[in-house]
């Protein structure tokens, strides 16, 4: 901000008068904000300040902010192999999830846009949103039934073709594929909304011109659709990279079992385990704060990159 020149006495008076007028006119609008602002302070910012607990010793009954300063929790988690394994699991699972589930909604949106029968297109679209509205508990419950080794549909098919039933939900090698594919199932249709909106905003003249020039449908996609939605794709990619550390914690917690803990223990489940189950509050806060800060760095960096490359930013 540029340095402000000092105000003369008259300017000060004028400013005060206009301030008075401003509040007389708009006090109702300010009054509306009071309760929501208090809400934000109490429910969002107090817990944020509560993160100091990562540097403070917690004693039961002595308030949520701890009693004395210490760095022992940081030393402890940096030396904790469980933490490094959780961090590795988080990164591997989310990178593979990104690689697979980032392109799929784009492809789906492009193909859906090519459906000429309007009614059919609408039906497909509506039904593709459905999984987004289903609770993670239900998703896991359905998976448990479909993949059950004794009665599940998938294993019945495997057995019918002469194979051996597989304990999908209990094997660590199946954990990531199941997590990622169920994400595909849940969110493909939903995420495609954004790409579809970008595609529908492409000027039809472009397609007509391409068709005049004899471009086939596939060529139209390649030379018109994809270049036109590229900015949207970039922004989405960068946003996704920014959220790389935030996996579907609730789903993973539901899929977690001692048998697959080697791959399913991510940072959030570790925080939950150490903090709420073992009540090691300060230690869990330190781990949570660490991943929160990394997440914040990722978001701000990717946003800066996006601003530079595409001129688009998310805040």
């Amino acid at each position: 901000m540029a340095k402000k020149p000092a105000l003369t006495a008259e300017e000060k008076v004028a400013r005060r008068r206009s301030a008075k007028n401003h509040f007389r006119r708009y006090w109702v609008l300010y009054a509306m904000m009071v309760v929501p602002v208090i809400y934000y302070i109490v429910f969002k910012y107090l817990p944020m300040f509560g993160s100091v607990l990562a540097f403070r010793r917690y004693r039961p009954g002595m308030g949520p902010f701890g009693t004395e300063w210490t760095l022992r929790y940081w030393e402890r988690f940096l030396k904790d192999p469980a933490f490094w394994s959780a961090l590795r699991n988080t990164v591997i699972t989310s990178v593979s999830n990104l690689v697979i589930n980032f392109p799929i909604p784009i492809i789906f949106a492009i193909l859906l846009n090519e459906v000429r029968a309007k009614k059919f297109k609408k039906v497909v679209q509506t039904i593709s949103y459905m999984p987004r509205f289903i609770s993670t508990v239900v998703v896991i419950a359905i998976l448990n039934e479909l993949l059950s080794p004794s009665s599940g549909m998938i294993n019945q098919l495997i057995v019918a073709f002469g194979g051996q039933p597989i304990y999908f939900m209990n094997q660590s090698s199946w954990f990531r594929p199941i997590y990622i594919l169920s994400e595909t199932w849940q969110f493909t249709g939903w995420t495609a909304i954004i790409y579809l909106a970008a595609i529908t905003s492409i000027s039809p003249d472009l397609f007509e011109a391409a068709e005049m020039d004899g471009a086939s449908r596939l060529q139209q996609i390649w030379y018109v659709t994809i270049p036109s939605i590229l900015p949207t794709v970039m922004v989405m990619l960068i946003m996704n990279v920014g959220h790389l550390l935030s996996l579907g914690f609730e789903k993973i917690l539901l899929m977690y079992s001692p048998a697959n803990s080697g791959v399913s223990d991510i940072i959030d489940t570790m925080v939950y385990r150490v903090g709420l189950a073992q009540q090691n509050y300060s230690y869990a806060t330190a781990i949570g704060l660490f991943s929160g800060i990394i997440g914040l760095i990722l978001v701000t960096t990717s946003n800066a990159v996006s601003k530079k490359l595409t001129g688009e930013s998310i805040y």
Partner: protein, 290 residues
């Protein structure tokens, strides 16, 4: 035009597109149809693994069982309380905040918006949040679900952007007619914002309806919603079936589970198609920008 369109390449392409779309339809629907089939099927075909996408030996037994199961009804009632109460509180709070924040001439507007956006990317984390809520004395009360989620920053930004898009002229006319800002919000802005309100209302309702984790850490057993009830069945914390012999027991558990899945999912699944035209718009205008 038409003639050029029907080349061999395009016909093959169209066929592939339709095959993909039908595959998507099947993948989205089959798990759900399977659950419906299982929940309405009799015990025998279930034990023999004969049920696929259509109920066999049609029966309402599972539904009768879960509806006479006292905890289920209780949990279902709780879910309704959280979904309706939570959404109502959230809509009031979010509109109350979004309206003044949509007026960029207010002092502090930019700063407050920035503080709101920050909460989308950084939060206190699980443990500090839990400890603050618990020192507020809301843990173990229904307020622990109804209050902390009253404003979701993402929804707030969607509504702010929606309000910003409304024409100012109507408001100015109302001001001249002597209507205050509260009156304008209630009688003019909100009625004009059905699409925006419906969008975020749906998001809130889905959140409250589907939540189980916050219920798990903040609530007591008698306050559990149906999703937590289901989760406890799924991970074996709670057994709901008693039959003769273990095979029948597991089978019965499966059909009961399916019935719980269907009854707890149907309300939200029947709701969203009606709001589709709103949320598609809401999601695209929302595009997180302050």
């Amino acid at each position: 035009m038409q003639k050029r369109y029907r080349t061999a390449e395009n016909i093959i392409f169209d066929t592939i597109v339709y095959i993909v779309m039908i595959f998507v339809l099947i993948v989205c629907l089959v798990p759900f149809l399977y659950m419906i089939a299982v929940s309405f099927s009799g015990m025998k075909p279930l034990v023999n693994n004969e049920v696929f996408l259509w109920p066999k030996d049609f029966t309402l037994e599972s539904y009768k069982t879960i509806f006479t199961y006292p905890n289920f009804f209780h949990a279902y009632g709780n879910t309704f309380i959280y979904a309706f109460g939570g959404t109502a509180i959230a809509l009031v709070m979010t509109s109350l905040f979004a309206y003044p924040l949509s007026k960029s001439f207010l002092w502090g507007n930019k700063l407050i918006t920035k503080m709101v956006v920050l909460t989308m990317f950084f939060s206190g984390g699980m443990i500090p949040t839990y400890l603050v809520y618990s020192s507020l004395g809301i843990v173990g009360t229904r307020a622990a679900i109804l209050m902390p989620f009253a404003i979701n920053s993402f929804n707030l930004i969607i509504l702010i952007n929606f309000f910003k898009g409304l024409p100012v002229e109507i408001e100015e006319a109302a001001l001249i007619d002597g209507l205050g800002y509260f009156g304008i919000l209630r009688r003019i802005i909100l009625p004009l914002s059905t699409a925006g309100i419906a969008t975020i209302g749906l998001y809130y309702a889905v959140f409250f309806w589907n939540d189980w984790f916050n219920a798990l850490i903040y609530l007591k057993g008698s306050q559990y919603p149906v999703m937590l009830f289901l989760r406890n069945i799924v991970n074996g914390t709670m057994a709901i079936a008693d039959g003769n012999g273990s095979a029948e027991k597991t089978t019965m558990a499966i059909s009961l589970k399916s019935a719980v899945i269907i009854t707890s999912t149907v309300p939200i699944i029947t709701l969203y198609p009606f709001l589709q035209k709103f949320f598609v718009k809401g999601l695209t205008i929302g595009g997180v920008k302050g």
